[in-house]
Symmetry: C2
């Protein structure tokens, strides 16, 4: 909260007072809602209100997960990207994604979500491109994910290939 305040309520002093580098925040364009001052920002700061994240996941119909475990998963992800609609000093969490990784070869993307009010405007694509850019900047060359059938085309549009050379995604669940 304090961080966001320092950036958005005192723009004149922000560049001196903020503690997280500015390149972590990239405006991707005007808000999808016209006639407002809102802008869309990305962040890799993990200090996310977990109840706000839960609301976002609720909005796309995902089943609830224990907050304690979500917190642990975020802490142990390699990169966490959140997407925000910012109007003046107010900001709203409108997108999220994260990736696990061995920090060297492979990363796996999980929990990609854009709030329904903001879908189909290119923001999911922008969020994924931002995550890929971050992973590439850490020299990760093999970015993987497991796509639900209805989003395979979304990821294909970003350059992801399904089952390249016959490689199959496999799952084990306790029974």
């Amino acid at each position: 909260m304090g961080f966001w305040k320092s950036i958005f309520s005192s723009p004149d002093t922000a560049s001196a007072s903020r503690t997280i580098p500015f390149e972590e925040y990239t405006a991707v364009g005007a808000s999808p809602r016209p006639n407002t001052q809102a802008k869309i920002y990305f962040s890799t700061d993990r200090n996310i209100d977990l109840y706000e994240l839960e609301e976002l996941c609720d909005a796309v119909g995902w089943s609830r997960r224990p907050i304690r475990k979500v917190k642990k998963a975020i802490a142990h992800s390699f990169i966490v990207v959140s997407m925000w609609e910012v109007r003046g000093t107010r900001r709203r969490l409108i997108g999220f994604s994260r990736a696990t990784s061995d920090h060297a070869f492979n990363a796996t993307v999980w929990d990609v979500v854009v709030h329904p009010e903001f879908q189909s405007k290119g923001l999911g694509k922008a969020l994924m491109k931002y995550l890929i850019k971050k992973l590439r900047s850490h020299d990760i060359s093999n970015i993987t994910l497991f796509a639900d059938p209805h989003v395979v085309e979304f990821y294909r549009g970003l350059g992801f290939m399904s089952d390249p050379e016959g490689i199959k995604g496999m799952f084990w669940y306790p029974n």
Copy 2:
């Protein structure tokens, strides 16, 4: 090295002197080569000779990877399991696997390998079962991997399902 010595050359004092808990080491049965004193052990210790690991990967024809990056990947994996043939005070690395994870929900298994001399004896299965047990003991319920076409059946035999409910494994590589 000192660790292995303390376990295998002074069995009487081992339980007092070792620093890594004994449950990390489980004998899985007699060596595949008869008429020896050798046994097979598992370890989750990451302190592996990376040149010995490179030799193991060479033996199954995997392409070489920079040692520096392998070291980083091992350090940032959630669980690393190595499999050893032990004869007296000598041990030989004969299998390996590791998993990345968010420590809460998902794990992804990478680099599963058994030395050709030790394949087709049930050791790959035992190695994977050991890794699954370790992941389950950390409350991970979604264990995933990307299987080359020729090993899909191997993983199916362990209870892994490919493309459950149409979920597709997808890859992004830089071009």
